[in-house]
C-alpha cells in the first residue's frame, strides 16, 4: 500500500489532515443559462448550469403542486485519466439522484407549481470528491437563477486515510484510503441533506469525521457567499 500520510503528518498532496484543497467559485459563467457557476476544488473542475423554472416536457412528469427538480451529473470523457465513455454510467445516474436529493430540501419548490428546474453538472476534470464540489456549485447556480431557497447547500467529504481522520479526500485517498464520507449541510438551518459512507469507521471516528466535515462546509459556505456577493454587488457588497 502507498504511504498516504508521511511521518510529518502531511498527506500525499502536502496537506494537513484538516486542510481543504484550494477552492475557487465563479458565478454566472454561462450566458444562455438562467443561472450558472464554475467551481475548482483542487483538481476538480465543474461547470453547473440551471435552467428554469420552465414548462415540463414530457408533460406527465409535471406535479400539480410543486416544481420538479431534475439533475444530471455528467463526466466529460476527458475528465479522468482513461477515457470515460460519454453515455451516463450506473455511477453517474446514482450521483445525479443523490445530488437531487441533497438540493431538494433547500429549494422552495412549492412556489413554482407545474414547472421543472433542470440542473446540469458537467465535470471537466475529476479528482475525488466531485459530487461534493458539484453540490456546492449547484447551490450557487440555483441562487444565481433566482430560485427561492430556504438555505444554501454546502458539501464536503471526510474520511479515513492511514488510520487518521481527514477531510476533503482527493482521488488517491478516496481509492486507497479506508473510508470516504461525503456530507452536505444547510449551514444556516443546521440540517444535513446528504450523508454517505463508503468504508468502515468506528463511532468515535464517525463523530470526529462528521464534525470536521461540518466545519469544512462552513468554510466553503463563506466562499460560496463571497462569490455571489461579488457577482451581484461588486465592490458595494464588500462593505
Amino acid at each position: 500500500m502507498k504511504e498516504l500520510i508521511n511521518e510529518k503528518g502531511l498527506r500525499i498532496d502536502g496537506r494537513r489532515v484538516d486542510e481543504l484543497r484550494p477552492l475557487k467559485i465563479e458565478v454566472g459563467v454561462l450566458k444562455n443559462a438562467d443561472g450558472s457557476s464554475y467551481i475548482e476544488m483542487g483538481k476538480n473542475k465543474i461547470v453547473v448550469a440551471v435552467y428554469g423554472p420552465k414548462e415540463v416536457h414530457p408533460k406527465h412528469q409535471a406535479l400539480p403542486d410543486r416544481s420538479v427538480l431534475r439533475c444530471r451529473y455528467h463526466m466529460a470523457p476527458f475528465s479522468v485519466d482513461v477515457r470515460k465513455p460519454p453515455q451516463p454510467s450506473r455511477r453517474e445516474i446514482e450521483i445525479s439522484k443523490v445530488i437531487r436529493e441533497a438540493l431538494e430540501p433547500a429549494l422552495i419548490l412549492e412556489e413554482y407549481p407545474r414547472t421543472a428546474i433542470d440542473v446540469y453538472l458537467e465535470v471537466l476534470q475529476a479528482d475525488g470528491g466531485s459530487r461534493c464540489a458539484g453540490i456546492t456549485a449547484s447551490a450557487v447556480a440555483l441562487a444565481d437563477a433566482g430560485i427561492s431557497m430556504r438555505d444554501m447547500v454546502v458539501a464536503c467529504a471526510a474520511g479515513k486515510v492511514s488510520g487518521q481522520v481527514v477531510i476533503d479526500l482527493n482521488d488517491v485517498e478516496d481509492k486507497e484510503g479506508e473510508a470516504d464520507m461525503p456530507i452536505a449541510i444547510m449551514p444556516n438551518l443546521n440540517q444535513v441533506t446528504l450523508l454517505q459512507l463508503d468504508g468502515i469507521l468506528t463511532s468515535e471516528e464517525f463523530e470526529r469525521a462528521f464534525e470536521m466535515a461540518v466545519n469544512a462546509c462552513r468554510t466553503i459556505y463563506e466562499v460560496q457567499r463571497k462569490a455571489l456577493m461579488d457577482k451581484y454587488f461588486g465592490k458595494a457588497g464588500e462593505e
Binding site: 400539480p64 413554482y112 430560485i147 430556504r150 438551518l189
Partner: protein
Amino acid sequence: MRKMPAIERKYVTPGELIAEGSYKPIGNVIRIKDKFYSTKVGLAEISREGIRVIPLSGPYIPRVDDLVIGKIVDFSAFSWEVDINSCFFAYLSAQNVFGKDFSPDRESLLRKFAIGDLIYAKIIAYDRTRNPLLSVSGPGLGRIPKGEVVKISPAKVPRLIGKKGSMIKTIESATNCKLIIGQNGIVLIMGPPDGVLLATQAIRMVESEAHLAGLTKNIQNFLSKYKEVGS
C-alpha cells in the same frame, strides 16, 4: 411602544439571517421561530411594514393586472398561445379580441395576430392551477407595430420604472423616445435611431447597477454627458 428603526438595507444571499424579532414577512423571506432568513440574492429591507428582500435575479411569475409584452407562438381555433418570458405560456382568447359572438367559422384568427407578432397585453386571470389568461382590450393594448425590443431581468423592472415612474421619465425625456415596459422584463423603445441607441445603453446601465443607491442621479448624469457630446 417599541421604537421602530428607519428603513434598514442589507445585501443578502439565500439562507442569510436578516433579523430576529417580531416582524411581518412581506416577500422572499422565510420565518423560522422568530428568525427571518432571505430566500434570494438581493437587498433586504426592514421597515415599519415588515421585512422583505428585493431580489436581483429570478424568473417572471405572472400576476393578475400585470402589463406584459408577449410574442404569439401558436394559435388554435379559439385562442392564441403567447410567450410571455415566464415558465408558463399565456393564452389570449379569440372572444376577447373579436367579441362574445366569435365563431371560428366566420373569423380567422390570423386576420388579427400572426405567429411572431408582438403584443402588449394585460393578465386578467392567473392562479397556481392554470396558465395565465391575457386581454388586449384597453387603451394602448394590442399589436405592437414597430420599435426596438430590449430584454432585461424581470427582477429589475421596478428599478427601471423608478419611484412613481421617475426613471422611465428621465430616460424618455433625455432620448426623445417612448418606452413601454412589460412587467415580464421586455422593454419596447420607440423613437429616433440615436435615441433608441442611447436609451438601450441607459437601460443596460440600470440593469447592471440596480443594487446601487442614487441610481436615477447616475442615469441623469450619464444621459446629460452623452447629450453634450452628441450636440
